[in-house]
């Protein structure tokens, strides 16, 4: 036997190290778990909305309009048109929680592709993508949304388009930076020595190693997008009525805010708690990834 055979290679001797999978280690962070809790407070009722004993969100109760505050039949009162606030907030959560993740995911597909191409090829590809991103990033985000939505009209699809246009450049920058530093790693050279294609190197060798920072950023962006959807609703550029929309609900109630503050207060609390949940989740993930 050769001399090297006696090296005892106790397999996985160091298996006690923390798992690289951030999501699996989530329970280690109190902040992340608190954030997750806040998010779940909205996710669970949103999922169960059709089976919950709620009043239809569009049904008007003209009798309740005389006393729009909390009552036995309307726990959170009714809005200026006599619709049940609780039902509209829960159904509104459904809208936000469906639109925000889809919009951010779409932004990720576009942004990651841009960042991969820019970081991988460099040169004029990078210059073109980066300059285009700079142009978009130079607009104040809210102005960008207003311009886009005002032109293409308010609808779920168009909100997603607007979020993609506004978020993809930022995602692209993160991915580009990560890819550029990963490109110098020797495992990329090893992939070339197997004759792997560019697409393979980008998607299989590089992209999976970006996931740590991207998971955190994804949660942050969910928060931002929730703000965006709320803001668009408030500006009257959100989902067209009668869809229950938190931002729209706040706007509708502003004229009566001194008389019936609850009409604006409850959707605001809903919006703030959800955004806070996403942000705390992101903070917790950052904390976990830095603990390595």
């Amino acid at each position: 036997m050769s001399a090297v055979s006696n090296e005892p290679v106790s397999a996985l001797e160091v298996a006690g190290r923390p798992s690289p999978n951030l999501l699996r280690r989530l329970p280690d962070s109190k902040v992340a778990m608190f954030g997750l809790g806040l998010v779940l407070i909205w996710v669970i009722p949103a999922l169960l909305a059709p089976v919950l004993p709620l009043k239809p969100p569009d049904a008007q109760d003209y009798l309740a309009m005389a006393h729009p505050g909390s009552s036995a039949s309307h726990w959170l009162g009714v809005d200026p048109l006599g619709r049940d606030m609780l039902s509209r907030i829960v159904w509104g959560a459904r809208t936000v929680l469906a639109v925000a993740p889809v919009a951010v995911l779409a932004a990720y597909v576009v942004g990651a592709a841009m960042g991969l191409l820019a970081g991988y090829y460099g040169g004029w590809v990078d210059a073109a993508i980066s300059r285009a991103s700079d142009v978009i990033l130079s607009f104040p985000v809210i102005v960008l949304y207003v311009i886009l939505i005002a032109n293409i009209g308010p609808s779920v699809a168009n909100i997603i388009v607007a979020v993609v246009a506004a978020s993809a450049p930022g995602i692209s920058r993160i991915v580009r930076g990560l890819v550029m530093s990963l490109m110098h790693q020797e495992f990329v050279a090893a992939a070339y020595l197997r004759r792997e294609s560019d697409v393979f190197v980008m998607l299989v060798e590089l992209l999976p190693n970006c996931r740590g920072p991207l998971i955190t950023d994804f949660c942050l962006r969910l928060g931002y997008t929730t703000i965006t959807i709320g803001t668009l609703g408030f500006l009257g550029l959100g989902l067209p009525p009668p869809n229950p929309d938190w931002g729209g609900m706040i706007k509708q109630a502003t004229s009566m805010i001194t008389v019936f503050p609850h009409m604006a207060l409850y959707p605001t609390i809903a919006l703030v708690s959800l955004i806070l949940g996403f942000n705390l989740l992101a903070d917790g993930l950052t904390e976990l990834s830095q603990a390595d």
Partner: protein, 677 residues
Amino acid sequence: MSLLEIRDLRVEYTTSRGTVAAVQDFSLDIAPGESFGLVGESGCGKSTLILAIMGYMGRNGAVTKGEILFEGRNLVRAGREELRRIRGARMAIVYQEPATALNPSMTIGQQLIEVPMAHGEATAADARLRAVRVLADVHLPDPDSVMRRYPHQLSGGQKQRVVIAMALLANPALLLLDEPTTGLDVTVEAAVLDLLNELRAKYGTALFYISHNLGVIAQVCERIGVMYAGKLVEEASAEALFALPRHPYTRGLLASLPRPGADKRTAPLVPIPGVVPAAGRAPPTCGFLSRCAHGERGKCDASVVPLLRAAPAHVVRCVRWAELPAMPPAAPPALANAPTDVGATVMEAHDLTRVFSVGRRKLIANDHLTLAAQRGRVLAIVGESGSGKSTFAKVLAGLDAASSGSLVVLGEDVARRPVRRRAAKLVAAVQMVFQQPEGTLNPSHPVGWPLARSLRKFGIARDRRTVDAKVAALLEMVRLPASLRHALPRQLSGGQKQRIAIARAFAGNPELLIADEPVSALDVSVRAAVINLLLRIQQESRTTLVFISHDLGLVRYLADDVVVMYLGQVMEAGPVAALFDPPYHPYTEALLSAAPVPDPTVKTTRIRLEGEIPSPLNVPQGCRFATRCPRKLGRVCDDTPPPLREATADHIIHCHIPIEDLRAVPPVFARAVATAH
């Protein structure tokens, strides 16, 4: 009275998994003016010890037992203010990385003047005078201009001299050195070590030198301590330690290094099995037991082993020390008895040139390289960083393309054909093992994945069962358990990762393997095992190995042929035996002289190069080496490229000096060669 006295020290870290003792039961004395070296691999607690002495323990670390007496004061109990007065004034430290030790936004002068002024010892004018004087002491040319420069305007070696100057400014009684030459080129390292010896003689400063490199320690230190798993396992004078190492770990470290004059056929390296245990994971009785070839259950793990006196001034922490000399270490079989015969030429570069454009300037990384490798032999390419070794490796592997010239590999010119333009068979035939174990495997995929992928891409195996069987065979070949294929790279040690990298390179049955410093990032005790493994597979498969290294000791051990490169050109080439005896190229001679030898009895001729390797953006006109050559003839060297001189048919030297004169140069290892034979 001793200058530094450490008594029964225990340093603990608090982690999420409880407290871990990084240093335990540690005692040490350093007399004024003495030079003490502490050797140990990474994770043995050397750096923690330094931090404890300096009082720089982080928030989660603390000295929980024992005392550190410096000039009679206990540093463990000292207040912040007292520590501040001692640090920098009576005790100074030089860290490994000179680039981060200097403030990039201040001139060298500002940073030096600050030191005596911060201690309230001097006025600005006085401090300035002292700074200039100490810069002259560390042999920086033109100290006044250095004072005005910023760190980025100095080279790595110059920066380390400035850091040493800064440490010496207050004339400290003790200088702590934490791997101060790791990361510097050998020629620069040798000059820094000379400087330390000279300064110690001049100022009488005691040195506490920490390193993993026994060769470096042997050159600087009078007394040596060996540290393992947080404990001192042996301490003796340098001569005694190298002549008769008493602890199995010390014996193992020395046996895993190539001895001067030995090669793979006469004296194979003996690796130490296993890896250094994580801090606090070693058993309390004898931390080395699990890796020890002479350990005996019931004897070695019966009780905590104390430091035992083996001889006057020689202590060892081993219960069996007295029996050890009778138990020689199990030597592995020598690789092959006959030297590898010269086979067909597998790779031949002719006038190979690679020029990069940097703005409008040209960076010449490879300049008309002409060299060849024969089947089944090991060709070593040596040279300092910046000599163009790695650029050549990349062109050869197909990760880069040459600018001009030819590079014939297995009958095809591939100089301007990177991997994408090479046939699959040729790509499989030319593979590479990289330097950094950390970067060589994709952290997102299990370690079996690149092996399986290579097998599929090279058409060695297609269906799942064959691939699985072949992956298992590859792991077996590099002596790793088959179960490891599902592990993620972060769960492997550095040595294990390099084994996977070797297995990956051999997946496609390569004809030519390029290894770019494959063991330089590994711990000393693991190196030997990886080198032995690589050589065994190489020899069994008759693969040609192109081994790139800056470590001449290692090159002498494993190479059949050697090419010495400098600034993109070949200086000397020939069979390994011819290269280590005169005639030498003056650059080879300087490299050999600079290489640290892990044996204080070996005396080498002292040839030190001036300055550092010039920028490849601005290469000298005549001989590339003329600007630093200690044997420069005169104008002809500056103006005319040197002729090719043949010492023998296969040993060539590019130099203006006639071969007869080069032959008359005294050998570098005068006594080493005499004692080896």
